[in-house]
Amino acid sequence: MPLQTERPNSTAGQNASAVLWDLPDSLREFVSGGDPEMVVEILTLFQDDSSVRLRELNDALAAGDRDAVRKQAHTLKGAALQIGAIAMSGLCREMELLATSAPGPQLLDLACRTWECFERTCRYMLQTENWG
């Protein structure tokens, strides 16, 4: 995998300049150590788990369950940060902080931007999946 970074061009707000994805050194070393499959497994887990959690977050938002929104945002933030999805992690952190106080439409907008950012991150991972 080329292990590059990309800056999102459609993410609005304060995270607009954040790096979309940059594989952390701690994972990059699995690649250089001859174990790229392990990184693929972790990235696949991230994609599968995050898509489920984002749906659950939207359900919680629709139900007005702010605490569930905060918890899902917290977990998504941690997973995104762990695999180097920096822009997504920033959006999730914003959502976690605002979950119990922001107006509904603001949270909904943030959730939509997080979805978009997640999808862009996954597409970028697929585009760059070239483990040689």
Binding site: I42, D48, D49, K71, A79, Q82, R93
Partner: protein, 127 residues
Amino acid sequence: MAGETILVVDDASVNLKLTDIVLRKEGFRVHAVSDAEQALNALASLRPSLVLADIQMPGMDGLEMTRRIKEDPLTRGIVVVALTACAMKEDEQKALDAGCDGYITKPIDTHTLGTRVREYLARGCLS
């Protein structure tokens, strides 16, 4: 110290998998579960030297799980280390107040995780 059993509890599958991989590479035996109830059930038959637990989990959180571990005479000797998010400084004090022997901040640093776990195990042996 390598070869000791570590029970890892985290509802985030990415963190759970990565922790499992890193600790196995460090020579530990790892038992990984995704919630506190599973962890407490596992303690009925498993005697880990250390429990590495996420704090914010659905259902029973890591703090309540730690209190239960430390209240039980059969399990109170197990070293419990909390996994806390960097930005949540208040979580660190809450973890210590609940009975955790220490905490490790997330994201998990794969370079230092094994060393930190060995340090906590060594401290546990001394106490």
